[in-house]
């Protein structure tokens, strides 16, 4: 019986054992499945690096996301300390240990900071670390999950694409003053490779004081910063990798996203613009100096030439008066040419003097009657007008703020010309004025004279350029040139409308400074 009983117990025991074994296998299988499912789950998360560490930070597990983001395979990294993910300068100041200490103390820790990939390149990461404790409360290790912020939706690929399209160097800086993103232009301008700059402090490429301000700007509200910077480019110097500086202009724009405030700095290299600005300033200064010299030269030359010429003219005239008919006929003719030549040269020199003086001793502009200015001109022209039998009429001319003396001279030259260059008919001249839509008066002097071929319209305003010989009309060709110079100095301009045989109309515009 006993043996039968024993047999029964053994059987029962064996059965039980077999059952237990299969249960264990089942449990093991279930556990294996569970672990595999977790593994699959973790590896399925490509966007996050998820790994576990022992209490000292040695890595004990590694997911596919971590491999992708940080560049290390599980075999390579397991057993190594997580401090290798930190930039050297952070390691130096003990940041990795500090992170673990804080996490152990608080249970968990979140931070945003620079991390280094296996290839040495840097990226801004968002990091979450949790301390793992057993039931007794002993620290067993840490779990970390983190992701590359430059891959996130706001500041990721799309943003990078935008930056690359910009013609300026673009650098995105976080609140810690670290460069998070940059474009190709920034690489070119500053002479760095992208991975050399990402994670570096922005002050390594732009001046220190300004870098701080840039960050301070970034921490204010976006609206505030925008209001401050509208249209204000700040001129500074950027520093290339080789240490050389170049002038830049920076526009800042804050970007608030889920990860906080980033500042986008558009950095324009303004070397060329500076150079052309400097060139322009230099050219204008040179031009002014050369203009002044020319003015001075014209005055001195004409003034100093006048003295010896006065001697030549006076004594040839004296010769002509005293010795006419007392020498032979050749002598009379020669003396006559000498007298004529010196007389004409005197007129030219006086005109040149008048031109070099024109508008240089201008008086203060005040409200004057242009009607009075014309009357003054007509008084000076009285003899000429009477001789030619000219009829000069005019509309009522306006009050205008300008130099009345110069305006009278302009009228005198234009009306004088209109009377002088007449055809068979007696000269008829009409002076009128019209207000344009803008803020200027246009004066017109119309005549019934010879008229001018349009091809000469420019030429007639050039110094000593004439359309007629001395035998037809006397003169040096100075009048219109002086008018033009005076008008330019008064802020106006002059032009002509004419057809040969149909008379001419000279128009000139003067600004009405009152705007009324």
């Amino acid at each position: 019986m006993a043996s039968r009983q024993n047999t029964g117990v053994r059987e029962a025991a064996e059965n039980h054992l077999a059952q237990t074994e299969s249960e264990r296998q089942l449990v093991e299988e279930a556990l294996r499945g569970c672990e595999e499912r977790y593994r699959m789950l973790l590896d399925g998360i490509q966007g996050y690096a998820i790994f576990m560490m022992d209490p000292r930070g040695q890595i004990v597990s590694w997911n596919a996301g971590a491999e992708r983001i940080k560049g290390y395979s599980a075999e390579e990294i397991i057993g190594h300390n997580f401090s290798c993910f930190f930039p050297p300068e952070d390691i130096e100041r003990g940041a990795p240990q500090e992170v673990l200490r804080i996490t152990a103390a608080n249970g968990r820790h979140e931070e945003r900071g620079m991390r280094v990939r296996k290839d040495g390149s840097r990226f801004l990461a968002s990091v979450n670390i949790t301390a793992l404790r057993d039931a007794a409360g002993n620290l067993r290790g840490f779990s970390e999950f983190s992701h590359d912020l430059s891959e996130s939706k706001e500041s990721g690929a799309k943003y990078q694409g935008l930056l690359e399209a910009a013609p300026d160097a673009m650098v995105v800086v976080n609140q810690a003053g670290e460069i998070v993103l940059l474009n190709l232009q920034a690489e070119k301008q500053f002479g760095y490779r992208r991975d050399e700059l990402v994670g570096q402090k922005v002050k390594s490429i732009i001046p220190e004081g300004f870098a701080e301000r840039l960050i301070a700007d970034g921490t204010r509200t976006a609206a505030e910063a925008l209001a401050q910077q509208i249209g204000t480019g700040i001129e500074l110097y950027g520093r290339r990798k080789d240490g050389s500086d170049f002038p830049i202009e920076i526009m800042l724009s804050p970007l608030e996203n889920s990860e906080g405030i980033l500042v986008t700095a558009a950095i324009r290299n303004i070397t060329e613009r500076k150079r052309s600005e400097e060139h322009l300033v230099k050219t204008v200064a040179e031009l002014n100096r050369s203009n002044d010299e020319l003015q001075q030269f014209a005055y001195v030359a004409s003034h100093d030439l006048q003295e010896p010429l006065r001697m030549v003219a006076s004594y040839t005239q004296l010769l002509a008066e005293r010795y006419k008919g007392r020498l032979d006929s050749d002598a009379d003719e020669f003396i006559a040419y000498a007298v004529d030549g010196s007389n004409r040269m005197q007129v030219l020199i006086q005109d040149l003097l008048a031109y070099s003086r024109a508008g240089t001793n201008g008086k203060a502009h005040r409200k004057i009657s242009s009607d009075n200015a014309l009357k003054e001109a007509l008084t000076n022209l009285r003899a000429t007008i009477q001789e030619s039998g000219a009829v000069v009429t005019h509309d009522l001319l306006p009050m205008i703020t300008t130099d009345g003396t110069q305006l009278a001279q302009i009228f005198q030259n234009l009306v004088g010309n209109a009377v002088k260059y007449h055809g068979a008919a007696a000269p008829r001249v009409h002076v009128s004025a019209a207000k344009t839509g803008g803020d200027e008066w246009i004066f017109s002097v119309r005549d019934n004279g010879l008229g001018i071929d349009p091809q000469y319209f420019d030429r007639i305003f050039v110094l000593f350029q004439r359309l007629h010989g001395q035998t037809e009309f006397k003169g040096t060709g100075i009048g219109l040139t002086i008018c033009k110079k005076m008008l330019e100095r008064l802020g106006g301009r002059i032009w002509v409308e004419s057809q040969p045989g149909k008379g001419s109309t000279f128009h000139f515009a003067l600004p009405e400074k009152d705007g009324k």
Binding site: A313, S314, Y315, Q317, L318
Partner: protein, 152 residues
């Protein structure tokens, strides 16, 4: 250069301060037709003019001019200084001074009158004008106006 023409005792003494011999000659030509007898003395720079007026150097016997024709742009001492010294000197300031110069500058005209020039004439550039000006100086200052007697 110092010269005089005519030695008539009743002649009017004129000092011409002028550095251009051409202008001296022209002035003399113009004065040839003067209605009165003129003794014309010429000083070719400002220093010589002052020596003449103060009877210094070789001018111990120089007469006191009745009229001075003064150019402004002169070597050594210029006409403005000469004018200033004449008009500050109690002995000389009663002598009429006619500025006869090529300068038409407003600044020169104003300065001359501020220094008490008796009149200011810009030399005409043509011969006829010049001769007419000298003739009118002759006519006005030497015939029309009455000049002061030399103070004793």
């Amino acid at each position: 250069m110092m010269e005089s023409i005519g030695t008539d005792a009743k002649a009017i003494e004129v000092l011409l301060v002028e550095d251009s011999p051409g202008d001296v000659r022209l002035t003399r030509e113009a004065l040839k037709t003067a209605k009165v007898l003129i003794n014309l003395y010429v000083a070719s720079d400002g220093t010589e003019a002052m020596a003449f007026l103060k009877r210094e150097g070789g001018h111990t016997n120089a007469p006191r001019p009745d009229l001075i024709l003064l150019d402004l742009n002169l070597p050594k001492k210029d006409g403005r200084e000469v004018l200033g010294e004449i008009k500050e000197s109690p002995a000389l300031k009663s002598i009429p001074v006619v500025i006869l110069t090529t300068s038409a500058s407003e600044a020169d005209i104003l300065k001359s009158y501020l220094l008490h020039a008796n009149c200011y004439i810009t030399k005409p550039v043509d011969l006829k004008g010049f001769l007419n000006v000298v003739k009118s100086i002759d006519n006005f200052w030497l015939s029309v106006v009455r000049l002061p007697h030399e103070p004793r």
